[in-house]
């Protein structure tokens, strides 16, 4: 069953708006404040402590790389880009800078709630994907150990590769560990899989 839907609430969030004084900035602030968000406006430079903010809203037209104290590959929070120009270079930069959602200028009296939900969701999704990819990469890097364990089992049990793999999987399941961890464990035993049998 799908998890129960929860109305996204941004109550208690801290937002940093990177924009020069302008009616667009005022309208953004007003919308954020209506949602119970504490807003700090900054121009021209973000400071290190702003990486603690829950969301950063930045001007994609006039802001530039030098204003951010963290590197583009580090995205500490969900970000929303405010776009006036749709020149592809600017859009590309906004995406590279971590914008998970955008609002078109001029900023009126709606759009921020939806943009926040989208930015937060895409931030969480990206975070989850990154973790998953790191995990998979790590498992991929341990493929030689898995092959070694299967070969050992084939030799010791005089079985085919499929059966040996099933045996390794059973060991992993019994120990509630990953296949890779089971392979490491097996390879570390002086007598391989039979060592286990001797002890038992």
């Amino acid at each position: 069953m799908a998890a129960a839907f929860r109305t996204p609430s941004f109550r208690g969030w801290k937002a940093v708006v990177l924009h020069r004084p302008h009616t667009d900035r005022d309208n953004i602030c007003r919308q954020l404040e209506r949602l119970g968000i504490e807003v700090e406006c900054v121009w021209p430079d973000l400071r290190k402590e702003h990486s603690e903010a829950n969301v950063v809203v930045f001007d994609a037209d006039m802001a530039h790389e030098g204003q951010f104290p963290w590197k583009p590959d580090i995205q500490p929070m969900p970000m929303i880009a405010l776009m006036g120009t749709e020149a592809p270079g600017r859009v590309e930069w906004a995406i590279r800078r971590g914008a998970g959602a955008h609002l078109n200028k001029p900023i009126g009296s709606s759009g921020v709630y939806g943009a926040l939900v989208v930015a937060q969701r895409s931030f969480e999704a990206r975070f989850a994907y990154e973790n998953k990819i790191a995990d998979l990469e790590q498992r991929l890097a341990r493929r030689p150990q898995v092959v070694e364990a299967i070969l050992t089992l084939m030799l010791q049990r005089n079985c085919d590769a499929h059966t040996a793999y099933r045996g390794l999987r059973d060991l992993a399941m019994a120990g509630r560990i990953s296949i890779e961890d089971a392979a490491d464990e097996l390879n570390a035993r002086p007598g391989g899989a039979d060592d286990d049998r001797r002890k038992a």
Binding site: A4, R30, Q31, R34, S109
Partner: protein, 403 residues
């Protein structure tokens, strides 16, 4: 000296699927404008400029454009569905006008060009559930017309029920104006929920309530005392057309004819002189009526009909109206409102007049929270210690039982 004439747009549908409430709304705006013009209290007169989209969502923007561009209206009192309101928003932006939106709605909007005087979710569906869940249970069947009002109110309902450990036994939508409801009745018969939340509008709602009453005659499980229909938008305006089918329906509204206040008694006496002793007065009537009064007070205070000035100078203190003082919150542009809960009685009687008996209210108006920022749906519902049969609300901080 002749008084300045200020044109005010009145944009409601007098025919189409929700014509009953549209006509009431138009009457409410007319009544207030007549009173304002006759009062001598103001240095201006309102000219009521009416437009009738006939229930077609796409006609609202066209007519709003006409009201603002050709008729010179800076203010429109109108729209009763979120669909039509959203159609009108670009027109308001283009002409820097204001829409006074007086119907209850699903929230999650706070547009600069709209003043919202109808209840938003913390003032409609939340108090309705604070009443209904402890009284009847938390297994619900959700119904709606197939557009944003039903979708969003039912979504909030789903969240409220889920947080209470309850469940949604069914959730169905039918197009506005559709009267084919047999499949809904069949599913309800099978699922046997604790109550039904009805977000159908107009003729679809009438068809459903008639069919559901027939179901109750076949199987007493579906009588209002055991498995009631609850609603955020049923008002007195629709009781005559519904007849006996309305009996026992529980609704929340920020106005009921049966409110026992000196202001309301005086108001009803005036309205009955105007509309006849049998006229039903409802929130659909009082919404636009109050909006016109609030507009008149705002123009009197700011000295101009300029929408920008009126929005910029929304006061923190209440503005007087014939139904008591009203505050419009400056930050969200929504009104502080008191949600009441009423149950329809007398609808099945040939002698009595159908009316809402008040079963729950609050001592003071509730601040608007259109984005549910300050409300935690997961806080659960206060229940009376003696179980579902009791409606004693002493344990609940939100609603007071009216005896």
């Amino acid at each position: 000296m002749t008084r300045q004439e200020i044109p005010v747009g009145v944009l409601f549908s007098s025919v189409g699927p929700y014509a009953e409430i549209g006509r009431e709304a138009r009457e409410g705006a007319r009544a207030a404008i007549d009173e304002i013009n006759a009062s001598g209290d103001f240095g201006f007169r309102f000219t009521c400029v009416e437009a009738d989209p006939q229930g077609e969502a796409d006609r609202y923007a066209v007519l709003a454009e006409r009201l603002m561009r050709e008729e010179g209206c800076r203010h429109i009192i109108g729209c009763q569905t979120s669909w039509s309101r959203k159609e009108v928003l670009p027109v308001l932006e283009r002409h820097q006008g204001v829409l006074w939106y007086t119907a209850p709605y699903e929230g999650f909007e706070s547009h600069d060009r709209v003043l919202y005087t109808g209840a938003c979710p913390n003032q409609n569906v939340v108090p309705l559930f604070q009443y209904a869940v402890p009284a009847f249970g938390n297994r619900a069947y959700l119904l709606g017309s197939n557009y944003i009002w039903g979708w969003e109110v039912n979504r909030i309902a789903r969240e409220l029920l889920g947080a209470d450990g309850g469940c949604v036994l069914g959730e169905r939508y039918i197009p506005i104006g559709d009267e084919q409801v047999a499949h809904l009745i069949e599913e309800i018969r099978e699922k046997r929920p604790d109550f039904i939340l009805n977000n159908l509008i107009g003729t679809s709602s009438y068809a459903f309530l008639r069919a559901y009453r027939a179901l109750g005659r076949e199987d007493p499980f579906f009588l209002p005392s055991r498995c009631p229909v609850i609603s955020c938008n049923l008002t007195e305006a629709e009781l005559p057309v519904l007849g006996a089918a309305a009996e026992g329906v529980i609704s929340t509204s920020t106005y009921f004819e049966t409110l026992d206040t000196a202001d309301n008694r005086a108001f009803l006496a005036r309205m009955r002189l105007l509309r006849g002793a049998d006229a039903q007065i409802s929130a659909m009537f009082t919404g636009p009526y109050l909006a016109a009064w609030l507009l008149a007070r705002a123009i009197a205070e700011t000295g101009k009909a300029d929408p920008q000035g009126i929005i910029a100078r929304l006061p923190d203190r209440p503005r007087p109206t014939p139904l008591g003082p009203v505050v419009i919150d400056r930050q969200t542009q929504h009104a502080h409102l008191t949600p009441h809960i009423g149950v329809v009685e007398g609808a099945a009687s040939v002698r009595d007049r159908a009316r809402f008996r008040l079963v729950g209210t609050r001592p003071a108006p509730l601040a608007p929270d259109p984005y549910l920022v300050d409300y935690d749906p997961h806080a659960g519902f206060a229940r009376a210690p003696s179980g579902a049969a009791s409606l004693d609300r002493e344990t609940g901080p939100q609603l007071r039982l009216v005896t």
